[in-house]
Symmetry: D2
Subunit: 408 residues, 4 copies
């Protein structure tokens, strides 16, 4: 890789990315553009601007953007159409945010004539892969700088030394090491590392930041009705809401009722297993409701095909292949399935659990006429079942005849 001249840095304004900013200037002698995005992580962005200015970034080179609607509309919602969960449980809250950040990094690089991007993810995690695969998929010539894989600031002490030497302000509470590492956006908060590294030991309650403890949640359940159109949530209790507003509202419900907590060990793309504590309050409700509305609007075999392919789709997103032909192919399949997924699911929220208890739709495939235990007025001829079974059984019978012939 030839030396980069201008680099767009995914910049949070925090200590670590401030050190990276300075290190890029020092180690590569290159111009730095900062990009700070609001993806709903719940932090003010203006301090990042001031910090960047303080570190010598010219105002033209400071990009600060609210991407919440784009994030939910173009990333979170398409993913939820698939009911995607990784390894049976994880709702992919970190994974789905990375491609959007990379997309903007690449676009800003094009606008500013930068030839490189940089991020603050370590060399052990999945995020480096997600950032970089997305970047390369969008610009095959982009250079990527991942300081954590390169520099020698490999201990807390060295990092703080570097910061002090370079006049980077250090907040008091950043002097000591954080007891665990946190990532957050509108979809989720994840916590991992350090005190959470022993998967046998319960996570202490203070790790959970996004949801109340179910034990402290209200003692009476709450019911909400989520409206869907073509697979996407569009309203709560009849009120039409934009994607980000809707997810924010669901997060409020989920937080209140202690919904969406997860303690799991997952297999990282880079090869080791890691333990994470995840909170996805709104997402957990949304997944349940989406399954609820699919139950009456999605054809059986369409649903089974989706279910079969979901794990691979989730793996693609987890591994960082959002911008890939195979993800786009699966998305085309999934989106095709959602054409009639329109209607309303009624969900009960109570002490950590979201559970569908009703669903209705103009596009329902549920036919009381066919299923009823009562007189069905000829809608279904029970005698058809005899032939159906006989022909489904035929190959099994031929197998059995062979087995008998063989004396087994």
């Amino acid at each position: 890789m030839s030396t980069p001249k201008k680099v767009v840095l995914a910049y949070s304004g925090g200590l670590d990315t401030s050190i990276i900013l300075k290190w890029l200037q020092t180690a590569y002698g290159c111009e730095v553009v900062t990009f700070t995005a609001d993806l709903g992580q719940g932090e003010e962005l203006e301090p990042a601007r001031k910090k960047a200015e303080l570190l010598g970034i010219s105002p033209d080179n400071i990009y600060i953007e609210d991407l919440r609607e784009e994030f939910v509309r173009d990333f979170v919602f398409p993913m939820f159409r698939a009911n995607a969960v990784y390894e049976g449980l994880y709702l992919l809250g970190s994974s789905i945010a990375r491609p959007l950040i990379s997309k903007r990094l690449i676009e800003i690089a094009a606008e500013t004539g930068a030839d490189a991007i940089a991020h603050g993810a370590t060399g052990k995690g999945n995020d480096q892969v997600r950032f970089e695969l997305a970047a390369y998929a969008l610009n095959p010539d982009i250079k990527v700088i991942a300081p954590w894989r390169e520099w020698d600031l490999t201990s807390r002490t060295r990092l703080l030394d570097f910061a002090e030497k370079n006049q980077i302000p250090i907040a008091k509470d950043k002097r000591g090491e954080a007891p665990f590492s946190v990532d957050a956006n509108l979809l989720h908060t994840s916590s991992e590392g350090k005190i959470l590294e022993d998967p046998a030991v319960d996570a202490p309650d203070y790790v959970y930041q996004r949801t109340v403890n179910p034990e402290d949640a209200p003692d009476t359940p709450e019911f909400i009705e989520i409206g869907f159109e073509r697979g996407d949530a569009v309203s709560i209790n009849g009120e039409a809401l934009s994607p980000a507003t809707l997810l924010t509202r669901l997060n409020d419900y989920g937080r209140k009722h202690g919904i969406g907590r997860l303690d799991l060990v997952e297999g990282r793309f880079v090869g080791m297993k890691s333990r994470g504590i995840y909170e996805t309050p709104g997402g957990a409700i949304l997944l349940e409701a989406h399954r609820g509305i699919e139950q009456i609007t999605l054809d059986r075999n369409a649903g089974h095909l989706k279910d079969q392919l979901m794990p691979q789709y989730a793996e693609m997103i987890y591994n960082g292949f959002w911008f890939s032909p195979e993800r786009e192919m699966l998305q085309a399949l999934i989106d095709k399935s959602q054409e009639h997924v329109t209607g309303t699911a009624r969900v009960k929220l109570y002490k950590g659990l979201a559970r569908t208890v009703g669903r209705w739709s103009d596009q329902s495939l549920y036919s009381e006429e066919h299923v009823t235990f009562e007189d069905d007025a000829g809608a279904y001829d029970q005698k058809d079942a005899a032939g159906f079974i006989k022909l489904n059984a035929l190959r099994l019978r031929l197998n059995a005849m062979r087995a008998r012939k063989a004396g087994k």
Copy 2:
């Protein structure tokens, strides 16, 4: 089908199968053998014996058996190794019981020289398919009688008339129609039909028979530790338990904490959608714990392959293909994956929710040495990640170069 001479009837002792018993004698003039099994449905079996005797069955032709251990060991546990759920939610509680019943019906037919079996499932449901596919797979020449598809007793009135005419005792509470239909065994209780037929309307609380309402469950959580060996649960809180005993114990925990309630609409094999209320108290805990122990003992790609195939495996069981080459092939794959799934999962039970909060194993693949945020003493070289990403990105970059060339 030539006229059967001797038929083994899956006999519960209830009104419906008593009517079938009589009808078989009347309509076919054939000898009837009754088979009543304890699969943990929670009913006394001896009354069934008396009822059968009363209806003229000779003692030699009355089979009553406790199949609970075989049920859990050879059917429920193998299925749980796969984390099988149908359509994302249903734990297959009815589906998994049918093949065992058919297996015994066929075996008893062989012992008694019967040439037919009969069951009390209707022509609209899945159970007829499951009973009959299993039967044909085990004896290709068996005759199957499904009275509900054949007779003209198509209304409650006609049924009761037939019962009265044939001196079949009718319990007072069976005079009126049940407000919904129930199936139960050690794994689950399902309720469907009649008052539950509108999927938009919440199921009334009295439908739930197997679990307390989460609102009425204890206000403090309970933690249990479930031990696994090669994918099967073998102990609770350190106490070794037989399969059926263990599941019974888990059911007690689940009942108490309101765990395992499900309200869903599913796609039946015969083609229509139906709404069911399911309670799987112990099963819901077991599924969660099994996923928990797999998290540290199952190789990542092994787990992903299992996840990808699970929906088809679940569909096979749901559709009645337990005794089929394809289910046995998948079982061989799943069982192979479970060789190291040994260890303990710690599960929190609280107000409807079972959630893994810890897991440990002698066979753990989790390596704190590799994953740690701290110094890893060279276990993992972060620079390897650069090459890993570059080569994973190569085809994406080639795609991007093509797109750029095309001016897109």
Copy 3:
């Protein structure tokens, strides 16, 4: 099913469907509309018109149509985008024609106010299923009459008696029974039954009607260049051709060189295995060429995903689920993959074999710069491979450490 009043019959003009025509008039007393389609089976259609008139069908009720272009464009080509083969070998020549015929039957029923359709497929085969599933998917209320499942004309003698009694002319060569049964269209000719029923015995050479025996094919190979756009063949040797014209041309090539013969035993949807002799001269060439052009234009993972799903796609078509949500979902995925499948494949034709020997495209992903054994000017850094392998190996090494710990 209430008695149909007016029925649209898939009518070939041959003896069997003429008998059906008469039988429909006799048994149901209903008005008959005949539909005769040219799908490239290589028979004149006008005799069918005369025969229908002779049997009393009014000219308004006689539909004769050339569907060859629609057949290839909307059915054959979309299927070939998937490289679909059933059970590894069969190119689905019969399967793909049925949905189009049903589609027209249903449309003509709507135009003529008919309430039923009828076909001449037997109760043992797949074609009945394909005709009827397609029909029901397009008109849920249509009545379907399948005379072979209903009537008592179960022997050749009875059929001929019925024909004579009803003044249906019988060609001399139809007096005796055909030695096997044939189906043909622009894509293929299949032969099965009777003398072919023993799968151990070679099919006699006269069974093959569509291709010369490879032993009799030219002694020198011929090379052709097939041009593709977005997955569909559009030209041969530089000459742009319509879909049906192109397939006809490929059939000529294939016939001449003895390409596309197949002798196989397949598993029917209705449960038994059957033996068929298939000839798909143009299709065999097209499949080979399509794979050839995909080799350089299709992303690796896109291709692998297609390959993985192809067997299910082929099964859907074989089983008659062309008009189903799941087939349409897979089609969306497949079509998405074909956006760049544009270019030319060069195929060698010789004595039964079509083999790609060259391929080129403006949209090629093949990069000589990257793959070359020579100096690659830095396009690829071989050192990246070390990290790539190390991280791909990490979980395998963790597995091995566990195995070693366990003393294995």
Copy 4:
């Protein structure tokens, strides 16, 4: 990686691996053990011994072994049970040999107390990955040296200089560069690189070394009968043969008739596409025959499940994951399916094509009684098909009713 002390080298005796041998001694100063295996590549092994001795390897450190039977029995045959082809065409001839070589390298390292292995594969290809993944899976602590990724002998001139400087004899025909690169074993010969790098240009005939040109093959076809037991070939024309002997015999047939030539472009695991000319004479016949015998002995759904999973299985082998939990899981599934794949396939060999024309088995599932066009004596009731179709159609009809309601 700490410096290796003793390294086992996969040694062919050729110029390249001799240079590697010397380079290992020079660059690492370590003791070298050579391992030369006969996998059927058709070269004498004794010259390798002499060459090694000449280069100073002590006789104790020279391992020469005939692995042909193990190769075919434990690697080739299990793979053929799956009908494995990569990207629709490639029979994985190189891929399947690598894990066996690595297995012996690791075993010899254990025997000789070596701490490293070395191989002569380049940094651009798949073989490095296959060697190393297998090695790490078998010994997590092994060091792997891949000189082509490390050294500076990056041109032909430098290599020859190094050889001369180190007294490595250079055969005259090795002075100039080979026009393409070749790999061979009992299953196949592959040729790639240099003159073959333009995928648009036909490979010159002299590239094919293992098969006669079909144009030069005999003008009369030959028929052979291959016997199978539980999925593996065991005899030809009734003569029982050991695995390697059988494959050698099939290679002779294939060579003579010009069978198994392949010209393709494939997607490498490391990310680029490459063009290869493959010859798999015996393998091509074996694949065809195995499919032939499966046609009558393998249950339909068992076969479909295998077909669906085959591409992933082939990808695992291609990518080097032979020794992985996921490959072993799929193998368990595949082997389970082969329990009844016993019988004989009759194959016609003629001018490049192997085609099954007959098959028979004691374990056949083919039932002439069921499939016959003639009187089937009640084996199959055609009326069953009506119910079978009606219930398969039900969900399609419900979809259609919804579409109609929506005015579509």
